[in-house]
Structures are given as C-alpha cells and as structure tokens.
C-alpha cells in the first residue's frame, strides 16, 4: 500500500488552516449496578424503574463506591497505556438541574483515577499517536423529557448515577478522519476489555468536541470552542467541519473567536452558541465529604494488568506474524474482538490466508448486506472453516464454493452436508477424468485435428465440454493437465 500524505486543511482566502481537535469522550462503564448505588444499569427499562433512594437523592442517603466500576476504570486506563493513580479523589460538581437530584454530580476533578496515556491510530499516511490527558469516573445525570407534555417537563432518573468514564484526549487530532479512527480505536479497546459496550445508539459513548484552527505552521493554538454532547461519529465529523469553517471565516474577516460552549444542531447541520465563557457555570468543585479518597493498592493494579486480554495493537502484531497477514488485513481482522475471535477459530482449522480473504470478502459483504454483527452471523466459524478446507483441498472449486456459501447463509447447514447432498463435490479422480476426456475427444475428432494443426484456441472448447459433461464439478486444474497430455498424444 502506498503511503498517502496527510492533507486535511481548511482553505481560506489568506491561506491554509490546520484544524486542532481534542475530545472528551464519555463512556458508560459496563457494570451491573451504578457508581454509588445498587440500582441496575440495564438499558431500556420503563422510566424511573431503576432508581434507588440514593440515585434520587433522598435526605440522609449516602454514596458507596462500586468496586467493579473502579476496576473497570483501571482496566481501561491500562488499555490506554496510562498511568494509574494510587490516590484519587471524588469531588462534587455543583449545579442545579431537574434531572440532577443531588444538586451536584460526583466526579473527579483535581485527582483523577487515571493519568496520562496514549492511543495509536493507523492512518493511511502512517501510524499516529494520540495523547490521553486523563480518565476520571463520574456519575451520569438523569434525562429531562420536554416533549411529552406541552407545559410540563418529565424526568427519568434511570440513568442517574450510572458510572461514566470521561476520557480526555490531548489536542492531538487534526481531521475528522482522525476523530473517526480515534473513536473507533477507543471503542475497540474498551470492547476488548469489556469495560464499555461502545453502543452509541444507546448513548454509551458520547463526546464533547473541542475545535480550534490555526494557520498552517503556527505553533500556538487558536481559541477553541467546545461542542457539547455529540453522540455519533458522523455528527462529530459534521460538527468539526462546520465549526472549523466557521472559525476560519471569522479569522479571515478579522473577527475574534469567542471561547464558548456550542451545540450541534443535527437537523440544520450547524453549531450554535450555548453559553459564552462569561456565563460559564461556577461549579464550586470541592472534595465530596461523603466519600473517602480512593486509595488503590499496587497489587490490585498489578493483578488487573495481568488479567488484561490481548488488545488490538498486540493482536495485530501477532496476526501479522502468526497468520502471515499483511498490515491491512490484520487491522481489519482485529478491529473488533468478535471478528478476531471468529477469524482465529476459522484459521485454526483451515488455511489462514484463504480464510482471511474469504472473511473479508464474501462473509463481510453478506453481513454488511444483512446489517448483522459477526456475533449474529448465520454461518458459524466452524462451518466457515469447513468451507475453507473444502476449497483448499480442491474438494470444491471457488465457483462452487460461492454457491455452497449462499446455501449456508440460507440454511445454516454444514457445508460438507450441502456438498454431499447436492453432489457438488469436484471430480478429481484422474482415471475418471481421463475416461471422460477420451470420450469427448473421440466424439470431436475434427476439432482435435484442428487443434493439432495449430488452432490452440480450441482448448477452451474442450474444457467447456468437460465441464458440461461433469456438471461443473471437474477439477479445473486436473482437467487442464489431462487435456494437455491427451491432446499431445
């Protein structure tokens, strides 16, 4: 693969502008219960059915930290190659809102549980490292529903108190494509770790996007705007493009950029000012006196480190070595844990190269077509391996294999059974083939003479006749060999 050059700049009248992007990703921690209460975190329950007295902030209720959420944050930190802080503090972030029962969010401000780390992105122009500033644990708020009643707002507290990890990147991203790659990589790492399901439709992964622009070559950052709570990669990319263009236009017209918080309107595809720096909330952070500082023993961190699964970067290296895949193939096959598991199971019992080609070709096309995840594939890894084996051994031809594949998708049957019952096995017995070919040659003596006289194009005709007679099952390679031998004689 030829290496492309990075080329994402906003072209203004007065020059090219580089876009600088930093993300604050809010990832919902995969845990059975909430960060400070025993309520369930299951998605999709009826409103206010997963709310404890703590989540709804009744008088005298106290938070108690959920150890599993702490472990999940540590695992994620380790997956991001980050420093795990043995000492961290939960703070109160104070503000009033109807879906914030306590009147404050418990978060981590000065002392987060995870410090600096990094994430590697594979871009067409090479690999790029994105710095992680920090990761901290915090509570999610409830949900205000404004459109159920013309004059009242309804509040659903099911989400209130669910654990979130806020993962703050350094301002190292430079294009919407890098944002796409970064979010996908984060998501992949967390899914490998089992710390976040990464389900953006259900709001498990959302981001605040910080955007600024500067003239190409400038060392200093421009004034940034923060676009709040964007919940899909596509919207993030659209918001960045719009926002960068807006900022460039302001600069080119000699205007100042206000540091402010903005909203992305997905219907109009534009960002709008939400509040300026002057109106910014004073959250009056202070350490939550209901919770003691979180002290992690090094042993716990070490044990969690030892029990981490193999992560995408490592797995990619191994796939290249062990399965002789190229970087592109390895990248695709490790992008999701389920895909890599599927591939390894197939490769274990069949040909590793052929398995990769068929997975990335026919299997992915079919899944994509049906809108299915690999975990819901109608073809099991075991059956898929059988199919690859049959192709490799020459039992069936590539063309027949495509037919078998189609039948497997429909029926979910074992390919062996399909090949058997439909008689799709390739004719690979040389004696049988020779018999068949001799029969054809004796029936077409005139064509044989023409061939021998130099009309070698007729070779294709003989092959076609063999295929016709065998019902497409004659081994093409063997057919060629035998034909050549007999036509010489």
């Amino acid at each position: 693969m030829s290496k492309e050059k990075f080329d994402y700049f906003i072209k203004g009248e007065k020059g090219k502008y580089e876009v600088v992007i930093g993300l604050e990703v809010h990832a919902q921690v995969l845990s059975k219960s909430k960060l400070f209460s025993g309520s369930s975190t299951k998605f999709g329950a009826d409103p206010n059915n997963q709310v404890s007295l703590i989540d709804s902030a009744f008088p005298g209720m106290l938070p108690v930290i959920n150890e599993e959420c702490v472990k999940q944050a540590v695992r994620t930190g380790l997956g991001l190659n980050a420093k795990i802080n043995n000492y961290s503090v939960f703070d109160r972030k104070n503000y009033f809102y109807a879906d914030l029962p306590q009147g404050y969010q418990i978060s981590q401000y000065k002392n987060p549980i995870v410090g600096e780390g990094k994430v590697l992105l594979d871009m067409p122009y090479g690999s790029k490292e994105i710095g992680i500033e920090r990761l901290h644990l915090e509570q999610d708020a409830g949900k205000s529903i404004h459109d159920m009643d013309p004059s009242n707002t309804y509040v659903d507290l099911n989400r209130s108190g669910i654990a979130l990890m806020e993962i703050v990147s350094k301002p190292d991203l430079r294009s919407p494509d890098e944002v796409n790659a970064y979010i996908k990589k984060l998501r992949s790492i967390m899914r490998y770790l089992g710390t976040c399901d990464g389900n953006m439709q259900e709001g498990s992964l959302r981001a605040d996007v910080n955007v600024s622009v500067r003239k190409e070559g400038d060392k200093n950052f421009g004034t940034r705007c923060e676009i709040k709570n964007v919940n899909s990669i596509k919207f993030m990319q659209m918001a960045i493009e719009y926002e960068a263009a807006r900022q460039v236009e302001l600069i080119e017209n000699g205007k100042e950029i206000d540091q402010e918080t903005r909203l992305f309107d997905t219907k109009k595809n534009e960002t709008r000012s939400m509040r300026s720096k002057e109106d910014a909330h004073d959250y009056r952070y202070f350490p939550d006196p209901d919770l003691l500082p979180l002290k992690l023993e090094q042993k716990l961190i070490d044990d969690l480190k030892k029990s981490l699964p193999e992560l995408p970067d490592k797995k990619k290296e191994r796939f290249i070595k062990e399965y002789e895949l190229n970087a592109y193939e390895a990248n695709v096959l490790v992008s999701e844990k389920e895909i890599s598991d599927y591939y390894e199971e197939v490769a274990k019992f069949s040909d590793k190269k052929l398995a990769a080609t068929w997975m990335m070709g026919d299997l992915f096309a079919m899944l994509n077509d049906k809108g299915l995840d690999i975990s819901k594939s109608p073809i099991s890894a075991k059956h898929f391996a059988e199919l690859i084996k049959s192709i490799k051994s020459g039992e069936i031809s590539g063309r027949i294999a495509k037919e078998v594949f189609e039948i497997m998708v429909e029926s979910g049957d074992n390919p062996k059974k399909i090949i058997e019952s439909k008689g799709m096995k390739q004719q690979s017995d040389p004696k049988e083939l020779e018999k068949m070919i001799n029969e054809i040659l004796s029936k077409n003596k005139d064509k044989v003479d023409q061939y021998k006289a130099g009309k070698e194009k007729l070779f294709g005709f003989f092959v076609g006749q063999v295929m016709k007679l065998s019902g497409g099952k004659a081994n093409p390679q063997l057919t060629n060999e035998i034909l050549k031998k007999l036509l010489k004689g």
């Binding site: 005298g60 938070p63 930290i65």
Partner: protein, 485 residues
C-alpha cells in the same frame, strides 16, 4: 411506685427487667408528661399509638436480654424514621415521610426500644438556641424564658423535662454538648465515624455525628452501645469490634493524665465558667488524676475554620431540596429556575439561607483557595495540635460553653455572638474526636453549666470512665421544677 419518669434510663431498665413496671405503663407515663408539656414545644411529631402498640407487643413477649428492653424513646427530628414524618425543623420538609429508617435509630429499635416521637431542632441543625426551627422555639425546662441550646434543643428540653428517658441528637459543632450543658444533662459526640450517618438529614458531612443525650454517664454508655456500629452504607463509618461501654464502665481514674489547654481561657469569659473549670480540675485531681498544662495553639482558628467548612458542605448538601422529588414545592414560578427560587425562598429560614450563601461564597472560583482550601489546611493543624497533645495525656478537660443558657431572643439578631457559643465545642468536630459534656454545677442564677472531656479517637470508654468518676463526686443534681404542667 414513685414517678418513674424522673429516674435514670439505667434505673428504668432495671425496673422493666424486674417487672416493677411494664413497657406499657412506662410509655403511658411519658405520654402523660408529654401531653402536659406542650408549652415546651419540644416535639414536632408524636407517635403515641404506635408506641403503645410496640409497648404492648413487648409486654406480651418480653425480651429482657436486650440493651433497651421495652424503652420508649423520642429522637431528634433529623433522623429519618420509616413512615413517620421527618422535618429537620424545616418548612421545606414539612410533608416528608421517609420510606426508610436511619441506621442509628434502627440500631436503637433492634435493641428493644421504640419511637415515642420526633423532637424539635434548629432548622437543618443550624443554630445554637433552637430558635431557627420552622416549628417554633423550644423552651428550656430550667426556666420559662430560656433557650434549651441547639441544635438538639428539643432533645435536651425533652430529656431534662422527663419527656423521654434518654434521647439522641446530632453534633456538627456542638449541637449535642451545648444543649446538654444548658439543661444539666449529659451529651456525647462520638468519634467521627463511630455512628452511621446513613439516614440522618445531612448538615455538614465531614463533621456530623450522632450521639446520645442522657441524664447520667451510665445511661450515656448504654445508649452509645445501642446506637453505634459499623455500617457499610456509610463510607466514612469506622469498621471495628463493638464495645460494651456500659459493662466496662469504671470509676477508677487514678493516674490518668488530664490535659488543661490554656487556649480555652477566652477573653470576657464569665468568672463562673472559670470557677467551674477549677472545680472540675480539683475533683479529678482528688480522684488521683494528674493535671497537665497543654497548649493547642490553633484553637483560636477553630471557630472561623468551622464557619467556612460547615456552610460550604451545607450549601452543597442542601441543594437536593429543590421541590422536584419530595418535600415542599412552591405553587408559584413560571419555569424551572423560578420554581427553584420560590421553593427554596419559601422553604428555608433565614439562618439556613445565611449559611447557604456563606458556603456558596467560600466555594466560588476565585475564593476557594482563600477560604475553603485554607480552612481545610487549618483544620489539619487543629487536628495535629490534638494529636501532639495526646501523646502525653489521656483526655482534655475544658468548659463546654462560654455561658449558661441565655434568654430567648437575646442573640437572634447577632449571629456572630450566637456562633461564639460553639467556641469550645467545634475543635472536637474539626478533629473528629469524641467529646463529652457533663453537668458540673450552676451559675449565680441557678442555671446549669457543663464541663467537656475530649478524648482520643475511639477512646469513648476512657472519657466515659472519667465522666463516671466525676459524676459520683461532683454532687450535681438537676433541680427542675415542673412549672409548665
């Protein structure tokens, strides 16, 4: 039988155990007292029917092995009680009925007692005279026009007036010890974390601690034993073995070293307080204790530190009272913000508003470092003062309050002079130490005065022992005439 209600809790328990009195008769006697003491305004809510049911249940199937067999108890209205209105002395909770029971009260009930009613207190425990309650001020049984102290003023009044055999309060800066001192009773603020805060309406989380209020030291030990204990629902609860404070109570204090901190002799302190302190020292010395002069140099910063830390935490703790989910909600207000404003303006009283404003201010960006952060640093210094002293001594003796009970209305327009009432009590809260106020004498007017014993972390037994020995030799007797009935 003579009036059982003027006996100590310990005596009453003995009488129940020996079947000299049934739980039902005991409960009826207190109900009678309470009904004739409405003037004191000590109760916000009474639960007589429920109490009589429980008493009857006990009498039908008595279990005399419990610490508090068949004992009716009234508690401060800051403890959430299942199915019984809990107001925290505030209008904003005037209709709040918890579906849960605080750990501390649950512990009391599990030891055989039951609820007699909920006692008046300063609104959200913010006050030193019980004058900030939405439910009116409480009268001190010592005298018609006197405050009972605060914030556990309903508790001290009810206890001194024989409306409950013992009670519990909460102490954030002196709210158990000061009212105990004002009413000639015993009040203990335990080590921070000894009693669970779960289910107690929060004022300042890092300082709040529940504790017993009783007529005698022995009663105090019984109550502490009943109410304390580790609770995994409170992250600041201390995990330790349960102690048998009453069984282990000893009056031999020979050889104990008692620290006398020079910083507790404050300007303009009434001579009577000084004399009381001298009297206390003499009694302990005569009992064989050794008096040692100590210095707690940062004591003078304790009150300003307290009045930054406590309001800061309160401003955040009280944010949940917004009219959205429970409690009072103003009928006015066109939108969410207006609803908040009206609800909180109408729901909170002036003192609570004052502290929310102070707390919001000291936490604001630009002021945080100068106030809150600095206060937390000073707090560490105050704690260190104690830690250093406790390497040489067993306990510290100080006056409980700078004066005896004052008149209703005397200080309501002067918050600073009101705050000065807490000057001897706040250091123990800031340092998380156990501190006991015990009656020690009366002033010229005949109003009770208390002395305070401050102990090491989790050294409740020792200060109870010192108090026990002191009590036996002090000769204090609370002479309260039941002028109200």
């Amino acid at each position: 039988m003579a009036d059982i209600t003027n006996q100590s809790l310990n005596e009453i328990i003995e009488n129940v155990k020996t079947k000299k009195v049934s739980s039902t008769d005991l409960t009826k006697a207190y109900i009678k007292n309470i009904e004739s003491a409405k003037k004191l305004n000590a109760f916000v809510t009474t639960t007589f029917d429920q109490a009589l049911d429980k008493a009857k249940q006990f009498d039908n199937k008595p279990n005399f092995d419990q610490l508090l067999p068949g004992i009716p108890l009234a508690v401060k209205d800051l403890f959430c009680t299942e199915n019984t209105k809990t107001t925290a002395g505030s209008n904003i909770l005037n209709n709040f009925i918890p579906s849960y029971e605080s750990t501390v009260t649950k512990n009391l009930w599990n030891n055989g007692s039951f609820l007699l009613g909920k006692l008046n207190c300063d609104e959200f425990a913010m006050g030193s005279s019980n004058e900030t309650s939405h439910y009116g001020n409480v009268i001190n049984p010592v005298g018609d026009q006197l405050v009972p102290g605060g914030s556990s003023g309903g508790s001290s009044s009810a206890l001194a007036a024989d409306l409950t055999p013992a009670t519990i309060g909460t102490d954030t800066g002196g709210s158990i010890r000061q009212p105990a001192s004002f009413t000639g009773t015993v009040g203990l603020k335990p080590t921070y974390g000894l009693c669970s805060r779960w289910g107690i309406v929060a004022f300042a989380s890092s300082l709040d601690q529940a504790g017993p209020m009783t007529k005698t030291i022995k009663d105090c030990a019984i109550m502490l034993e009943s109410m304390s204990g580790f609770d995994d629902k409170d992250s600041t609860s201390i995990s330790k073995k349960k102690e048998q404070y009453s069984k282990n109570l000893k009056d031999n204090i020979k050889g104990l070293k008692i620290g006398i901190p020079k910083e507790y002799r404050v300007d303009n302190m009434p001579k009577e307080i000084d004399e009381l302190w001298e009297k206390g020292k003499k009694i302990l010395k005569d009992l064989g204790a050794q008096l040692i002069d100590i210095s707690l140099p940062h004591t003078k910063y304790a009150l300003p530190t307290y009045y930054i830390v406590a309001p800061a935490e309160a401003s955040s703790n009280l944010a949940r009272y917004d009219g959205v989910r429970y409690g009072y909600r103003s009928k006015q207000g066109k939108d969410l913000i207006e609803m908040y404003e009206k609800t909180r303006s109408e729901g909170f009283g002036d003192e609570v508003k004052r502290r929310i404003l102070i707390g919001t201010y000291v936490l604001s960006s630009g002021y945080y470092d100068a106030y809150y952060l600095k206060a937390q640093k000073v707090r560490q210094l105050i704690k260190k003062d104690f830690d250093d002293s406790f390497t040489k001594i067993d306990a510290i003796l100080t006056p409980s309050t700078p004066s005896s009970a004052f008149k209703i209305g005397e200080k309501t327009n002067d918050p600073v002079s009101m705050y000065l009432n807490d000057i001897f009590t706040v250091p123990a809260n800031l340092a998380g130490l156990p501190a006991l106020s015990m009656p020690a004498g009366v002033d010229k007017k005949g109003y009770p005065l208390g002395l305070q014993l401050i102990g090491k972390v989790l050294d409740e037994q020792k200060i109870l022992n010192i108090g026990y020995a002191f009590e036996k030799n002090c000769g204090f007797k609370n002479e309260i005439k039941k002028w109200w009935s």
